[in-house]
Amino acid sequence: MIAVVAETKDGVVRKASLEALAEAKRLAGEAGGSVAAILLGAAGAGEAARLAQHGADRVVHVEGAALSAYAPEAYAEAVKSAVAILKPDVLFFSATAQGKDLAPRVAARLRVGLAADCVGFAWENGALTAKRPIYAGKAFAKVAWNAARPMIASIRPNTFTPLAPDASRNAAIEPIALADVPVRARVTGHEKSAGETLDLTEANIIVSGGRAMQGPENFEILRKLCAVLGATLGASRAAVDAGWIDHSYQVGQTGKVVNPTLYFAVGISGAIQHIAGMSSSRTIVAINKDKDAPIFKMATYGVVGDLYQVVPALTAELARVLKD
């Protein structure tokens, strides 16, 4: 059996968990096993059914006062209690901010192996292997687990596609009441970052600016392009280190590793540490006035030109075309 820890946001299961469920379903199908989902804390009434429609054969729902806000120790204990019932061979997390924080707690508590931020899985002679980027995607490692179970992996968001919901599927919901867990670290509040609606790691389209932006004010022309495309703004380390934009926008080996469908590198020369963070983007557009810039070697489409002319022209053309 493969179990998937379903992460919720405001009581709704996140897309990344449905992606993990889809890969679990594929792998379980090949091995002749089943899929379970583990739902933690308060969740909307239809969420368990939604997990079933997206591939879960069983849904275990762990509830308790300790799960009211994210607390790694309580959430780890909740996952452990579900694992004790399900006895899965494989346990998936999503490599979201919460999944990355929780999976290692659980793995260490169970004394089992964890392959983090995986982008592919295969059965090889009956044994599971995982593919995961290392060096921010400059290379990939194929890893395997020892005999301890479950084998734990976290899965990079945007890697797999959720299954189309099958309304005929349903699963029995198995409730577990979590006893009170002493918690020594607890989330007590949130602050939203100003402006951006979607995190870089979840974004479908990203527009990043580099050294050629020359200053914080010029990012406005990229924001206009983002607005037309529904894209998320990013930046190179050069722009961040110059103090033009906050580090949370940085794409690269010491920033976010992203894999959008479409990536615009604007005025970015293509330092190896930047390329590492965006090389798995499906389509890459580079806009740079230096035709010898290394970024053009990565680009699906390269535009050689002055970004201050090209980007406004591109924004205008997209606004015209996408209006229809």
């Binding site: 901010a97 990355k100 260490a108 964890l114 290392i134 060096y135």
Partner: protein
């Protein structure tokens, strides 16, 4: 307050990765302290300076070359350094590494443990959290803001999540992993660099730590790397030049009709 900082030595981020016999070839690599560990070192020094008391101990696990990373931390102002010898340890298995680090932490003693949120070589980002679990203490990962109340033995951290930060209240001792933005690391001073020469960095083996070698050996590791490969090369792209309005039109057409991404 005893602050323990774990530092990993990694290839510089400008390194072009080469594969040799299914493994990353590190023969001609320039080794540096993991960039995120620099934020951890800096934060430890700032807490010590703010409190006007305390000790910062830097520990690194690995082959003899990691002494350079320890010396670098000492030159920045860390008080003591310890080199834990990596021989016979599954260094690409986070659980094995966390097991050894937990034993080292117990031997050094700590009120607060700091480390980078992840190392830029293996990119796992799990060792710090595993370490907290093995030591049975709380953790906060991916921290961009930290406030330690030494008297109350508590802390408050800002932890980066999708589209914002979480505020986390926690008890000490704890493990905190550092994200870029936590602080601006200092440069080593000449005085700091000179002071390193007088410092002795002890070497600890698994026997010194009381860790059973078999429990952290590659043979039984919880995960193991079977092979490393390079990503597939990208096909050569199309280059557009000329009038900005024309190239913009052509680019939009290609994105819609050829790539079908918008």
């Amino acid at each position: 307050m005893n602050i323990l900082v774990f530092v990993k030595q990694v290839p510089d981020t400008e390194t072009r990765i080469q594969i040799q016999n299914g493994a990353v070839d590190t023969a001609s690599v320039k080794w540096v302290a993991n960039p995120y560990d620099e934020f951890a070192i800096e934060e430890a020094l700032r807490i010590r300076e703010r409190l006007g008391a305390g000790k910062v101990t830097v520990v690194s696990l690995g082959p003899d070359r990691v002494k350079d990373a320890i010396k670098y931390a000492l030159s920045l102002g860390a008080d003591e350094g310890v080199h834990v010898k990596g021989d016979g340890i599954a260094l690409d298995d986070p659980l094995s590494v966390a097991t050894v680090l937990a034993a080292a932490a117990k031997k050094v003693g700590f009120d607060l443990i700091l480390a980078g949120k992840h190392a830029v070589d293996q990119d796992s980002g799990v060792t710090g959290v595993m370490l907290a679990e093995l030591l049975d203490i709380p953790h906060v990962s991916v921290v961009v803001g930290l406030d330690i109340d030494a008297a109350a033995k508590r802390g408050t951290a800002k932890r980066e999540i999708e589209g914002g930060v979480e505020i986390v209240s926690f008890e000490l001792p704890a493990v905190v992993t550092a994200q870029k933005g936590l602080n601006e690391p200092r440069y080593a001073s000449l005085k700091g660099i000179m002071a390193v020469k007088k410092k002795v960095v002890p070497e600890w083996t698994l026997a010194d730590l009381g860790v059973d070698g078999a429990s952290v050996a590659p043979a039984g590791a919880a995960i193991r790397t079977l092979e490393a490969t390079l990503p597939p090369a990208r096909a050569a792209g199309k280059i557009l030049e000329g009038d900005p309005a024309d190239t913009a039109k052509e680019l939009v057409r290609l994105l819609r009709e050829e790539a079908k991404v918008i």
